[in-house]
């Protein structure tokens, strides 16, 4: 135990190795499909880094993903698998949208009210699932999935209510008031040549720091982690496990709801009718896994995913299927999932060396 901590003990190393494997598998597949992998990957990189505008776009893509990632990571730390971030995201976005259209308030207050509404909606959506689990013993994975779809159709229903549906054509709501937008000042948007540049990233980073603090530095965080480690031991130690779990599920939902608000108030400005799930919640699972369930790790994982998603959208310009990004991401997670095997192998070799 007195041994110096080797770099092979750090999660980041295995994540890095997994990322390399991900790109390797992607390259093999591209080559097999007769596509020049080098060209595709250089497009992926230049598509993100060659202009400030592109970098800004990658950050815009990343902001909601950091938040859904935080949501899932927080749930992981407390022993719950929040597969319902998708629905909480939708409800958050919807709440912010209704408040953003219907209320008229001065700018900073309007933004605050929208954000609080979104977080409350996400928290409630997550807490109901917690309540069902605690009071009725209903499997949370099942209710999360049900609530994802209820949110999906509820959003589509609300979008079509005349009071907020946009006039004229288009299956979408009206635009939210300018006072509820979180766009960066005109000067920055001009300078970066990106009209959608927004403060979502700042909100995401603040949220990550708060969640980090909550988990690691507060009594509540200690209780939640204790329940996540061993529910029975925590209860024996005097922690109300049911209450802790519900609190955790509500906070996790609030983060996903905030993600929905950021997407709406930063980028889209309105909600369109969904044809299929938008996947922000599910992509959040990936972000949480790559970030090793660490709130600060989620910032980097979210930026990575955002860049991949935005860069991937450029691949169609060179007739390369953008789905290679999904394959790379899937491979990365798969390797992260089995990475403890590498760890064992390396540990074994170290022991043999002594």
């Amino acid at each position: 135990m007195n041994e110096k901590k080797s770099i092979w003990d750090s999660n980041a190393v295995y994540t890095f190795i997994s990322i390399i494997f991900g790109f390797l598998v992607g390259a093999i597949l591209l080559t097999a499909a007769g596509i020049n992998a080098g060209e595709a990957y250089s497009k992926l990189v230049t598509g993100v880094f060659s202009k400030p505008k592109f970098i800004m776009w990658a950050i815009i893509y990343a902001s909601p993903l950091i938040l859904t990632g935080l949501s899932v990571a927080f749930s992981f730390r407390t022993g719950v698998f929040n597969i319902g971030a998708e629905g909480q995201f939708v409800m958050g976005s919807l709440a912010a949208c209704v408040v953003g259209i219907k209320l008229s308030l001065p700018a900073p207050l309007h933004v605050l009210v929208c954000i609080l509404a979104a977080m409350a909606a996400g928290a409630v959506w997550g807490a109901i699932v917690g309540l069902l689990k605690v009071k009725k013993g209903i499997n949370e994975v099942l209710s999360y999935i049900m609530f994802n779809w209820i949110a999906f159709y509820f959003s589509n229903y609300v979008v079509n209510i005349p009071a907020i549906h946009r006039e004229g054509g288009g299956e979408a709501t009206r635009d939210i008031a300018d006072t509820a937008r979180i766009l960066m000042p005109e000067a920055i948007r001009k300078a970066t040549d990106c009209q959608s540049a927004n403060w979502g990233i700042l909100l995401a980073i603040i949220a990550a720091v708060i969640i980090w603090f909550l988990i690691n530095k507060t009594t509540l965080g200690y209780q939640l982690r204790a329940v996540g480690f061993n529910r029975h031991a925590a209860e024996y130690g005097g922690i109300n496990a049911n209450r802790a779990m519900m609190t955790a599920m509500a906070i996790s939902g609030a983060m996903a709801g905030l993600g929905g608000a950021v997407q709406l108030m930063g980028m889209s400005g309105r909600i369109s009718q969904f044809a299929s799930q938008e996947m922000f919640g599910f992509q959040g699972i990936t972000v949480a896994l790559i970030g090793a369930s660490n709130p600060i790790g989620c910032i980097f994982a979210g930026l990575f995913y955002g860049a991949m998603k935005y860069g991937g959208s450029k691949l169609s310009l060179i007739k390369t299927p953008s789905e290679v990004v999904d394959i790379i991401m899937g491979t990365i997670i798969l390797f992260i999932a089995v990475s403890h095997i590498f760890r064992k192998l390396l540990a074994g070799r170290k022991k043999g060396g002594n």
């Binding site: 209903i138 491979t331 999932a337 089995v338």
Partner: protein
Amino acid sequence: MDTIIRDLGLLINATLIATPPLLYAALGSCFSERSGVVNIGIEGMMSIGAFVGAVVALATGRPWFSFFCGGLAGAAFGLIHAIACVTYGADQTISGTAINFLAPGLAVFLCKAMFDNSSDTPPLDTASKLPKLFDGVFPAGSFMSNVFSTYAAAYLSFVVVAIVWFVFYKTRFGLRLRAVGEHPKACDTLGINVFRIRYICVILSGFLAGLGGAYVTLATVNQFRPVVIVGQGFIAIAAVIFGKFTPQGAMKACLLFGLCSGVKVLASAGNKVSPNLISMIPYVVTIIVLVLFVGHGRVPAANGKPYVKSK
């Protein structure tokens, strides 16, 4: 009276068409979960099954063979899940999530690579689609035709329920797979090969999920599109939890979901109620039923825990 019978026929028909993909996938999920391996990759396995089914049908024009190939494609991803979770003891949820990115991603990637960067395959002609039972025996649009003349693979799915039930409760393999999901260590002590049983079950779960996906492209829709599998895999998993991890329970839950989409089809024709509200019904009903009648579901005891052989 006549319209009631006709509507009833249409409702049964719509239910019969919507249920099988969920049912095949749910039966697959039963195998995996009961053997102690959580498989949330069912969704992805359905996608790849849907794609491979459609492509093989386009190439060969042989629907049943294509249906089987769709199953095999799902089984291949079942194998990946088994290697990761059973051999390498990976977190089952993480591996399943990975498959939900890998399999649909690969399906659309291959589709674009094969069909000139289009994410849809060309449509199948009628001869390449799965056949209907008693085709042309009953007058078109009649009650009998609606109830008895839909896709043969739809009726087959209910036969598979009976087979799976038999395997689970009347065979030695079934007893073992259920035991492995409850107490792998005890099974190992008795000389049952825990790893082998879990491998078989997880691969079977992929195979059945692949069949469910292939049913969608070869029967319901006549081509592969990225949106043909949107959430059915997750609904199938929900049905299994709802049905308390038994094949017969999962069937009832799938029929409930199928019936609700049947109601949706009929009601949206009337255009009186918002189709979005009607679409919500199955999910709301599931929650209500659970709260009122079912309550505590018992998960197989060893579910989600990798089994590590002690030395």
